[in-house]
C-alpha cells in the first residue's frame, strides 16, 4: 500500500449529504476483476450526461478541480454498499483525502486499505473548508498526518483525530495481512481451543 504522510493540493467541494457508494461508482463498473482504471468513472452519473459527455458544472469537470487531491463533502459520506471500488475510484482519480462531518463505517475502513485518509470534522470546520475549497487553486490545503493537522490557505490550522493503529499503517504503508500473519501462533491456538469446545464450527 502507498504510504501517506503529507498531502498538499486543491480541494474540491461536493456539498451534498449522504453521498452513497452507488453515486461514487455505479454498479456497471463493478464488473471489473481489477482494482485499477476506475478513476474516469468516479461519480459517473453526476459527471457525465446520458450521451457520455462531461457535465460542465460538475465540480470535478471544472478546470480548477481536475487535479484535485482532496474532496470536501457533506455528512454520512460513503454510505451504502461495501464495494471497495469506491475508494479505488477515488484513489485512481488522484484524490488521497476526503473530509466530511461523518463517514459510513465500511467505507471509512476501506479508505485506509487504499492509502486514502478520511478525516471526520465537526460541521462548522467542514463548512470553513468547504468555503476554502470553493476558491479553487487559490486555496491550497496542506494535510499532515503525522501531526494530525490541516493547514488552510489563510494560515489557520485544524487538528483531526485518527486511531493510532490506522495512522501507523497509513504512515508506513503497511500490509495488514502480512502483519496479522505474524500472529499465526495465536490464531492456531485460538482455533485449537475452539475446535475442542465447538467442533461444528
Amino acid at each position: 500500500m502507498e504510504k501517506f504522510n503529507k498531502l498538499t493540493g486543491v480541494a474540491a467541494p461536493l456539498n451534498l449529504i449522504n453521498i452513497d457508494t452507488d453515486m461514487i461508482i455505479p454498479k456497471q463498473f463493478l464488473k471489473t476483476i481489477k482494482r485499477s482504471g476506475l478513476g474516469v468513472h468516479l461519480f459517473d452519473e453526476m459527471r457525465y450526461d446520458d450521451a457520455g459527455n462531461e457535465v460542465a458544472d460538475f465540480v470535478l469537470n471544472k478546470p480548477q478541480y481536475r487535479e484535485a487531491k482532496i474532496l470536501v463533502a457533506g455528512d454520512n459520506f460513503g454510505c451504502g454498499s461495501s464495494r471497495e471500488h469506491a475508494p479505488w475510484a477515488i484513489a485512481d482519480f488522484g484524490i488521497r483525502c476526503v473530509i466530511a462531518p461523518s463517514f459510513a463505517d465500511i467505507f471509512y475502513n476501506n479508505c485506509f486499505k487504499n492509502g486514502i485518509l478520511p478525516i471526520a470534522l465537526p460541521q462548522e470546520q467542514v463548512d470553513l473548508l468547504m468555503d476554502d475549497a470553493a476558491r479553487g487553486a487559490n486555496a491550497i490545503l496542506e494535510i499532515d498526518l503525522d501531526s494530525q493537522t490541516i493547514k488552510g490557505p489563510d494560515g489557520g490550522t485544524i487538528s483531526f483525530e485518527i486511531d493510532p493503529f490506522r495512522k501507523h499503517c497509513l504512515l508506513n504503508g503497511l500490509d495488514e495481512v502480512g502483519l496479522t500473519l505474524q500472529k499465526q501462533d495465536k490464531i492456531a491456538e485460538f482455533e485449537a481451543a475452539r475446535e475442542n469446545a465447538q467442533p461444528w464450527l
Binding site: 452513497d20 476483476i33 486499505k113 486511531d163 493510532p164 461444528w200
Partner: protein, 468 residues
C-alpha cells in the same frame, strides 16, 4: 461478580484472538461468504503474495449479483458478467473453496443461501464482501459487511483487525397491525434514527414484537440494519432460531446438537448490560411504509403526502430533499398513493424468501397486474423457487401477470439485464432507493412484498390494507 454484558459483547469477547492494541483487536471469523463482485481482487492479492486460503471449509462461494434471471441454458450473454462469474469459479477451484454454481438448486443470493445451508449459526462471526451481511444477525450471529481488502485478509488469516463498535438497542413492543411487516418495521426504525443513526453501533433488536417475528421476518429486519448506518443487527437466538437451523446441511449434527444449543442459549444481553443508546417503538403505531426519496430515511406511511422542503430548517437536509424530489419527479403535497408506477420488483436479500413470496401471492391471488405495469418476482434462491413452485405460488403470480424468474440479485442493483429505464418508477421490495440504484435515472420506492403487489394491481403506490 462479572460485569453484565450485551449479546454483542459476549460474541465479541468469544472471538478476540489478540486483544486490544492501539484501539483494535484481531478477531476470529468463523464463516466467510464470497460472491463474484467483491472477491476477484482479493483472490488475485493472495496469488500475488503466494498465500493460501487458511480455512477453505469455513468459506462458501456463490454467484448472485450478475446472474441472468431468465433462461440460463445459454449461459451468460454479457461478457463482463460472464468473466466475473468464471473468475469466481476458477478461484474457488484453485483455492479449494466450495462453490454453488448457477445450475445448483442451492444457488441464490448469498444472504438467502447461507442461512438455508445452515452455514449461518448463532454466536458465530460471519463476514462477506457485501454490506447486507447484517442479515445473518437474525440468528444471533455477529455478521457484517467488509471491503475487498478485508475479504483478502479473512481468506488469508481467518481473522480481521477490527475496532469494537458501541452498543445500541432498539426495543419494539406490541403487535404489528394487519398488513404491516418486518419490512415496514425496519423502514420505520430507519425513519426514526436516520440513515446514519446507527453509524459506529451494533444494533440489537429486542422486545416481544421481535420475539414474535418469524426467522424470515428477523432476517428482513437485520438485513436493513445497514441502511440505518449500523454494520450489524443482532437478535438473541431462541427456540425459533434453533428449529430453523436444525437439520440443515451445515448445522451441527446429532451428538453435537445438544451441546450447541446449550451454548447458544447463553446468547442474550444480561439484564443490566449497558447500552450506549436505546430507543423504543410501539409496533401497533406503525403503518405500511414507503420511501419517497433517494435515501432509505426518506420514508413515510403510505397514507402521507410527499413532504415539503420549505418546511425543513436545516440547509443541508433541505437541499438534499429538493434534489430528491427533482430526481424522483414528484411534487410536495402529492398523496403518495397518487404516484403511478411503471415497474414492480419483488425479490432481493431483503424480501426474496418463501414467506415474502407467500405474503405477495396472498395479495396477488385472483387479481391482475395493471396493464401499464411490468412486474416480476425473483426468488432469493433455487430452494425458495422450488418451494414456491411446490406451493403453486408461481402459478398465482403468472396468472396475475407477474413474470416468474430464476434466482439472483436481479433488479435490486441492476448489474444484470434487469434494470429500470430513465424516469421509470418502481415499487420495489429491495433495500436501496439511491439515485440510479435500479438503473440510471430509475426511481425506486421501497415497500414490503404485499405493498409491491398492491402497487402492481393498482398501477400506482397503494395501501396493502385495502387489498387484504
Amino acid at each position: 461478580m462479572t460485569t453484565p454484558r450485551t449479546l454483542y459483547d459476549k460474541i465479541w469477547d468469544a472471538h478476540v484472538v489478540v486483544p486490544q492494541e492501539d484501539g483494535v483487536s484481531v478477531i476470529y471469523i468463523d464463516r466467510h461468504l464470497v460472491h463474484e463482485v467483491t472477491s476477484p481482487q482479493a483472490f488475485e492479492g493472495l496469488r500475488t503474495a503466494g498465500r493460501q486460503v487458511r480455512r477453505p471449509e469455513a468459506t462458501l462461494a456463490v454467484a448472485d449479483h450478475n446472474v441472468p434471471t431468465t433462461d440460463r441454458a445459454h449461459g451468460i450473454a454479457d461478457e463482463e458478467s460472464r468473466i466475473q462469474i468464471e473468475t469466481l469459479e476458477q478461484n474457488c477451484k484453485d483455492f479449494g473453496v466450495e462453490y454453488l454454481d448457477m445450475s445448483d438448486i442451492r444457488q441464490g443470493i448469498v444472504h438467502v443461501s447461507g442461512p438455508e445451508q445452515g452455514f449461518t449459526l448463532p454466536g458465530a462471526t460471519i463476514v462477506c464482501g457485501d454490506s447486507h451481511t447484517s442479515t445473518h444477525g437474525a440468528f444471533g450471529a455477529l455478521a457484517f459487511g467488509i471491503g475487498t481488502s478485508e475479504v483478502e485478509h479473512v481468506l488469508a488469516t481467518q481473522t480481521l483487525v477490527a475496532a469494537k463498535s458501541k452498543n445500541m438497542r432498539v426495543n419494539v413492543t406490541g403487535d404489528l397491525p394487519v398488513g404491516v411487516t418486518a419490512k415496514d418495521l425496519a423502514l420505520a426504525i430507519i425513519g426514526e434514527i436516520g440513515t446514519a443513526g446507527g453509524t459506529g453501533y451494533v444494533i440489537e433488536y429486542a422486545g416481544d414484537t421481535i420475539e414474535k417475528l418469524s426467522m424470515e421476518g428477523r432476517m428482513t429486519l437485520c438485513n436493513l440494519t445497514i441502511e440505518g448506518g449500523a454494520r450489524s443487527g443482532l437478535i438473541a437466538p431462541d427456540q425459533k432460531t434453533f428449529d430453523y437451523v436444525q437439520g440443515r446441511p451445515r448445522a451441527p449434527k446429532a451428538g453435537q446438537w445438544e451441546t450447541a444449543v446449550k451454548i447458544w442459549s447463553q446468547l442474550y444481553s444480561d439484564p443490566d448490560a449497558h447500552f450506549d443508546r436505546e430507543i423504543t417503538l410501539k409496533a401497533d403505531e406503525i403503518a405500511p411504509q414507503v420511501t419517497w426519496g433517494t435515501s432509505p430515511e426518506n420514508v413515510l406511511p403510505i397514507t402521507a403526502v410527499v413532504p415539503n422542503p420549505a418546511e425543513v430548517a436545516d440547509a443541508a437536509h433541505k437541499a438534499a430533499m429538493e434534489r430528491a424530489l427533482q430526481y424522483m419527479g414528484i411534487e410536495a403535497g402529492a398523496p403518495l398513493t397518487s404516484l403511478k408506477v411503471d415497474r414492480v420488483f419483488i425479490g432481493s436479500c431483503t424480501n426474496g424468501r418463501i414467506e415474502d413470496l407467500r405474503a405477495a401471492a396472498a395479495i396477488a391471488e385472483g387479481r391482475k397486474v395493471a396493464p401499464h405495469v411490468g412486474a416480476m418476482v425473483v426468488p432469493g434462491s433455487g430452494l425458495v423457487k422450488e418451494q414456491a413452485e411446490a406451493e403453486g405460488l408461481d402459478k398465482i403470480f403468472i396468472e396475475a401477470g407477474f413474470e416468474w424468474r430464476e434466482p439472483g440479485c436481479s433488479m435490486c442493483l441492476a448489474m444484470n439485464a434487469d434494470k429500470l429505464k430513465p424516469g421509470e418508477r418502481c415499487a420495489s421490495t429491495s433495500n436501496r432507493n439511491f439515485e440510479g440504484r435500479q438503473g440510471r435515472g430509475g426511481r425506486t420506492h421501497l415497500v414490503s412484498p404485499g405493498m409491491a403487489v398492491a402497487a402492481a394491481i393498482a398501477g400506482h403506490l397503494a395501501d396493502v390494507r385495502d387489498y387484504n
